[in-house]
């Protein structure tokens, strides 16, 4: 059913060289290690940074997936796990990008402040298909809570992923599919 278009395969964590090759509209399959975090975990991470304290996860080169998975069925590493809406992370993402975060995965457009940090420090924002939670869960081979277990679905998890399907939505050059893609298909009335 899924269209087979040309896909770039990349390995996470990301290097600067890889980030630079990614352009708006690229179909990408991510394999490797990524971390999960939503609003509540972001707030804690940024509070720690502001207090000058150590973080529970590394940020250099890493990719954070904005997701709060459903509970895993017996025998599965994780439950359905589609992206959550990214604009809620606008107040936090620039701090993490400054610390070396190279990629974010979510749904919907990220703010100007985030786009600027991405340009300045070289980072990329990937869109995953919202609601495609059962499909995406198939590309997650292993999941383990590494921080903030008390947050339940919002705890930080370390994921091992294989060919996780995403699209480059905002790149390190300021490219933005939410503006360019929509302009392309907009019909003036």
């Amino acid at each position: 059913m899924v269209m087979h278009m040309h896909e770039k395969k990349i390995i996470a964590p990301l290097t600067d060289d890889v980030v630079k090759t990614l352009r708006v509209g690229d179909n990408v399959l991510i394999t490797g290690t990524i971390y999960t975090a939503r609003d509540a975990a972001h707030k804690r991470l940024v509070d720690l940074l502001n207090a000058g304290k150590a973080l529970p996860i590394p940020l250099k080169g890493q990719v954070i997936y904005y997701v709060g998975p459903a509970p895993a069925h017996p025998g599965k590493p994780i439950g359905p796990a589609g992206p959550t809406t990214s604009y809620r992370m606008n107040p936090y993402a620039p701090y993490l990008i400054e610390q070396g975060l190279k990629g974010m995965i979510g749904k919907g457009e990220m703010g100007e402040n985030v786009a600027e940090a991405m340009k300045k420090h070289g980072a990329v924002y990937f869109a995953a298909t919202g609601g495609a939670a059962a499909l995406i869960a198939r590309s997650i081979k292993h999941a383990e809570i590494v921080a903030y277990e008390d947050l339940g679905a919002e705890a930080i998890r370390k994921l091992e992923v294989e060919n996780f399907p995403v699209v480059v939505a905002q790149d390190c050059y300021g490219g933005n599919i939410y503006k360019e893609g929509v302009a392309k298909y907009h019909i003036a009335s």
């Binding site: 059913m1 899924v2 269209m3 278009m5 509209g25 179909n27 509540a40 997701v67 709060g68 998975p69 459903a70 509970p71 895993a72 069925h73 439950g79 359905p80 796990a81 589609g82 959550t84 809406t85 604009y87 749904k107 919907g108 457009e109 869109a127 298909t129 919202g130 609601g131 495609a132 939670a133 059962a134 499909l135 995406i136 869960a137 198939r138 339940g152 679905a153 399907p165 699209v167 939505a169 599919i177 939410y178 360019e180 893609g181 929509v182 302009a183 392309k184 298909y185 907009h186 019909i187 003036a188 009335s189």
Partner: protein
Amino acid sequence: MREFDVKKITEAVKRLSMETNYFLGEDMVKALKASLDKEESPVGKSVLGQIIENQEIARTEQMAICQDTGFTVVFIDLGQDVHLTGGDLTEAVNEGVRQGYQEGYLRKSIVKDPLHRVNTGDNTPAVIHLRIVPGEKVHLTVAPKGGGSENMSEVQMLKPADGPEGVKNFVIDRVRRSGGNPCPPIVVGVGIGGTYETAALIAKRALLRELGQFNPDPYYAEMEKELLRAINRLGIGPMGLGGRVTALGVFIETYPCHIASLPIAVNIQCHAARHKSVVI
């Protein structure tokens, strides 16, 4: 009069909480498949393909379509000749949610207080909309509602002078400003009239309609078609990545209103449009 144990309500809510989250309605599946032909953007087509494949996986593996298994909204039309026994109706609904979300591996997404934000741990309480109707039956609908699309919804008090143009502009603009956030392709519930809260409630009830059904009033049926065409010209496309397929349906519901008012509400529904009814 008919006696009726509230345990039946608990069982129905439990079962429907799971079924709505695992099985996308046939009308939605059909509309999503048909939209593949209309979509011109390659990225949009691939997103639609993923959405269709996803609901097939969820259906066969009996797992949630989306990890956001929603706020459990429950509509109950209670026949006035029904006498409920065996406990409290609200508690019976909440018990159904509790059991359904626990046994169904569904996510618990409700915090007890909007500012203190501690999770209740069992997805309760439900949001319950109760109507007393003639007869001795109970009509019950479970409609889990995700946060992403709910957050893009809005109520506005227009002036009567704003008229149909004001109404249409508000709906189109609300969808435009939502972009990819509510997981397009969306279904748009529109409530026009009533008081402030009625507009929102009828917009939500509108979302319970099946795709392909129109407002019985030809004037509003025409407006639904016109709004759908206008929304699909916006270019937002699947997941907001650009394309032709932004919405699969627009449902308008109306209610009489005050001589001074023109309330309008837009309740946006993502492609994980989950609702199912039973008559007990």
